[in-house]
Point group: C3
Chain length 174, copies 3
């Protein structure tokens, strides 16, 4: 049974791989005060249904914070001693940064640099998106590049890294 | 060398990853009566060529059964004591269920629930499809969600799970 | 810390997974004469930027050879005793073969057959592209099939195989 380690844990997996459930289980079994830092906004019904599904699954012991853009500030506030923050998910954050025309390279680099200095336990969840055919449109390719670079930086800063497929975790680091 | 374990084995991998060959090898080395339960119908020349390719590779000791929709019934008939059934593949079955406008959530849940009660050895092969860019069309996203949920349920019910890449198996469970 | 093994090493990973950096690190830590065998041509600005990025990262101790099509001949010339050749990457080579209307099945089979007979160390890098949704256009499906078959053949011929995700290597063989 996987347990929550000190510092930053990075959980990478595909769509519907069970990565969020796995990350939630890590935090729930830690006994720490659990904070769900959601990067998702309810853009449309489909996204809204996903957020509701996530909320229903998490139960009542979690505090939910929504922050689509300024993840570093949100983490500096919420990742206090004794808390465990679930950041779900990084790829959606990258999308939000692109939509808001932020400097994605700078913001993601700042995020990765801030991770080792946080006081509480942090579990970052993200979607691996680079294992299919090269997308035909340029924005999707840029997104894929940003996500991949961010994943490398977060994995480098994390103490523990899991790859999740079909609900099963594979420890890649730690 | 991987060997066929008791109960259900789940083999997950990408397109042309060698997952079917690996699964066939598991069954052939077991010495059991081998049954190929194909979910594929020859919709077009391309699919037909794939099925022929699979048939040629399997050789003469296999019995082939085609069942595009009612996998549970087919398994209850064929997964008898002393047999080893290769179900190839689950993602195609999900496609068939969607095409036939079946209740995919209910049918896939019923399938996963039936797996632990089968009498013979069963090897389920499926395509991981959730590691690329989010598809632009809704049906492809639904398909990806159905497949991912099914993979989690089958992995949960299986005694042994392999992820296959470039023909090489990585044991995720068992 | 991973080290360069004798014979052929195969490094498979997604887009922006850090696979090329990992492969370069293997070669640089080996102390051998390092040769970068690039299959990429600067088709457009985007590709050109990627090649420049790769060149900047590699530093001055590498010799760069560009060969978009005849990889076997190039390897027979450059993979001499005492050298370590980085072939980056195989999926781009498959694209080049398809564009040039070569017999991809024959050329890739010849490549895999030649690998065990090379005199120097060789590290082949390639993109896993088979873990997303089935592409809608036929050429992309053909490409995916060619790449997957080639990956199986190269993994079979290699002494060592790594799967790289988020910059972290997972040893699959060796």
């Amino acid at each position: 049974m996987a347990v929550l380690e000190r510092g930053v844990t990075f959980v990478l997996g595909g769509a519907r791989s069970g990565k969020s459930s796995f990350a939630e289980g890590l935090i729930e079994s830690s006994g720490k005060e659990a904070i769900y830092l959601a990067t998702g906004r309810a853009w449309d019904d489909e996204m809204s249904a996903r957020i509701d599904h996530h909320k229903a699954r998490r139960g009542v012991l979690w505090t939910t914070v929504e922050e689509p853009l300024d993840l570093v500030s949100a983490l500096e506030v919420h990742a206090a001693v004794g808390t465990a923050v679930l950041v779900d998910c990084l790829t959606l954050w990258v999308t939000n940064l692109m939509m808001a025309e932020r400097d994605v390279m700078a913001e993601t680099a700042r995020f990765a640099a801030a991770l080792p200095h946080l006081k509480g336990a942090v579990v970052c969840v993200s979607n691996e998106v680079g294992l299919g055919i090269v997308p035909e449109n340029r924005m999707a390719r840029d997104f894929r590049d940003h996500a991949g670079r961010l994943h490398q930086a977060v994995a480098g800063a994390a103490a523990t890294v899991y790859f999740v497929a079909a609900g099963l975790p594979l420890k890649m680091k730690g």
